[in-house]
Amino acid sequence: MLYFANWKVLLICGICLLGVLLSLPNLFTPAQLAYLPSSMRKQVALGLDLRGGSYLLLEVDIAAAQRERLNTTIDSVRNTLRDAHIGYTGLNVEGDAIAFTIRETDRVEEAKRDLAKIAPDMTVEIAPDGAGTMKFSTVATETRRRQAVEQSIEIIRRRIDETGTKEPTIQREGQDRILVQLPGVDNPQRIKELLGKTAKLTFQLVDQGITVEDARRGRLPPGDEILPSVDEGRGRGGGAGSYVVRKRVMVGGDTLTDAQATFQNNEPVVSFKFDSIGGKKFGDATRENVGKPFAIVLDNKVISAPVIREPILGGSGIISGSFTVQSASDLALLLRAGALPAPIQILEERTVGAELGADSIHAGAIASIVGVVLVIVFMVLFYGLFGVFADIALLFNLCLMLGALSLLGATLTLPGIAGIALTMGMAVDANVLIYERIKEELRGGRSLLSSLEAGFTRAFGTILDSHVTTLVAGILLYWLGSGPVKGFAVTLSIGVLTSLFSAILVTRLQIVTWLRRYKPKAIPL
């Protein structure tokens, strides 16, 4: 124990130096950092609870998307069976499947064949008595779920980027959740509103053959649907309540290439451009329906239903409605970013203002510094020179922790700062164990060297045990915790590991060097 191979000394000093170098950048302001080489600019990332910002946990409502798809598929089932003249009853959506009963049981096989052509990712099952279901295969559901979440992340990113928020992080969390972190945002209301809209835009013809009242009374023609107006309930727009529109979509918003908020006759409007396919479809549809109204539908609500005065062939158009400047620019933004594949729910929001963040950093830093100073003084009081050794090791431990946090790109949260302060208190435990052991061995009548030796070796097993148990708690916290608590788990676990190194090796190296240099006759304990 009392001999360190040269390479070991170099390694220990090297690690300590590395810790100091890695932790140093944290002392500088961003402006000062610019003078340093880029490899040394890594700082500990501050969590949103310290720098201020908004944290949103979103859930992609896959079930809703699937229900909607089942509802559109049900029309195809109806048409297919009708075209093949196969009688059926009880066609509806039940849970995650389309259920129906084929009346002519001898045509079950034929029905099965025809229905299978509708959607390749659905499985069709029909019992010999005619009772049948159509549902998505597990693989298809899983693929769809993954695609929906990935696509949602992409679209959320585009929408947030459009608002000018700096450095947002958007990442997948678990199966169908998305974690959005918006540094510096202290009122995420607008972003929440933007994320809450699916923004599915469609152009559909209005059915003029029937009034809304008649349709409500049960005379809704097949292939039509009643859609409310966005103005409904707001008491304006001249009694525009609902519309009966064709379910068939003339053109969808997915073919838009651009959308901008502008003015027309001093009213805010949204102008849009189609890609070539969308432009042609729109041109054809408007040419065939001159003089008829068509509905501009956003998320199943009618924005407006203008009459087509002439064919619109240029591939661009204007949406007018009762917009404010804000709502027009929001709609333009949503159309540019694209529609979400499924509705999104906000499960959790945590927003910290910059003011509280600054207060937290301040309080956390003061508490940590005071804590460390108290521990340092305490160790000197009780262990004298050996206490100083332990304190030096403690400071290296602090550097190593900060360095490791910077290097790993870990996020420092307020509980994380508490974790640092706590590890500082707990790290010296290893030193206490060793020193108490040394004292005991001395009392037992051993020689100076042999007491030192025994102190380190015998205490090691105990130190290892106690560190492992704390590490277990840290890992569990990281695994099961969320947000700021994860930050605590990170600093606690890193602190346990670095203190194992510093409290044992760094302290021992100091003691050995001291022994060699001064050849003391007694241990100052």
Partner: protein
């Protein structure tokens, strides 16, 4: 440089004499906790119940709680709870009478989507002379998941600790360590139930840290018990436990002291957000140390480990160094 304070002699305290008091005291505490949990229950924070927490600072003078309450009542979003506070560690909330207010609103009926509307309503109702320091909205689905994750983490931590101690020692030690740690966890929860302190995610983090810390203490003592079992093969077990406790007492006290110093700094200087965490930690450090001395160690007396089995493992563990130095 010599230390200013030196603990020279090994004390000769008869810890075992007090252990039945310890058992009774701890049993009472644990039962009281369970009774409290069943009657008063815990004051769960919104992390677990779901709901809304808004921390505001009134920018034109002191906060008028009555006026704020009536504005919030008019929204009909459930019974709001308002709490003005002074926090000397902050730049803005240090004034007295207080300008900073914590507003809690219960979970809104209507699932996750309904929670989101409340914040905007509150912002509208409170008007312009208010600064928003913090806003937290937790929907019902997240709340119940967090409870599940919290309970799971605690159970797993206790399980892992038991397995580890069993693996490192004998199964008797595992039982003692787990019971003592369980006691610490339960009574910490009890502390939060008695004083109706807010029980939230950071409290949970504190509880798991307490479990890690308390077991740390126990392991140090058990290590010594095992060592003494090898050294003094004929000493009565009761004396052996006392000896181990006394020999490790100075270490126990010093470690409690350094950890407590760090936690006290957090408690008094760390600000409002860390208060619950610091209180839990401080209690945990004290109760964890107590339980190592008066529960974990005496329990060994009742589930006496097999001395022969331990003596047999003696050589493999710490002997090489010993042999070298002799």
């Amino acid at each position: 440089m010599r230390p200013l304070i030196v603990i020279r002699r090994v004390p000769k305290i008869d810890f075992m004499r007090w252990h039945l008091f310890g058992f009774a005291f701890s049993g009472l505490l644990s039962i009281a906790t369970v009774v409290l949990l069943l009657t008063a229950g815990l004051n769960y924070g919104i992390d677990f119940t779901g709901g809304t927490l808004i921390e505001v600072r009134v920018t034109n003078g002191a906060a008028d709680l009555a006026a704020m309450r009536s504005k919030l009542d008019a929204l009909h979003v459930g019974e709001p709870s308002l709490q003005a506070y002074v926090d000397k560690t902050t730049a803005e909330c240090a004034t007295s009478p207080p300008a900073c207010v914590l507003i809690r609103l219960p979970e809104q009926p209507g699932g996750d989507a309904a929670q989101q509307k409340v914040v905007q309503q509150v912002r509208g109702a409170l008007g312009p002379d208010v600064e928003y320091r913090r806003t937290e909205v937790v929907g019902p689905s997240v709340g119940s998941e967090l409870i599940r994750a919290g309970v799971l983490a605690t159970v797993l931590a206790l399980g892992a600790i038991m397995v580890y101690v069993w693996f490192r020692f004998e199964w008797q030690f595992g039982i003692g360590a787990t019971l003592a740690t369980l006691h610490d966890v339960i009574t910490t929860v009890g502390l939060f139930a008695i004083f109706q302190l807010e029980f939230n995610l950071t409290t949970l983090a504190a509880i798991l840290t307490i479990a890690g810390y308390s077991i740390n203490d126990t392991v140090v003592i058990y290590d010594r018990v095992r060592e003494s079992m090898r050294k003094y093969r004929t000493m009565p077990f009761r004396d052996l436990i006392n000896l181990a406790l006394n020999e490790t007492l100075s270490r126990t006290i010093l470690t409690v002291a350094t950890t407590a110093l760090a936690v006290l700094a957090l408690l008094f200087l760390g600000g409002e957000v860390l208060r619950g965490f610091s209180i839990a930690m401080l209690w945990g450090i004290v109760i964890g140390t107590y339980s190592s001395l008066f529960i974990a160690a005496p329990l060994l007396y009742y589930v006496q480990p097999n001395r022969r089995a331990i003596a047999r493992t003696a050589d493999s563990d710490d002997a090489p160094a010993e042999r070298a130095s002799r």
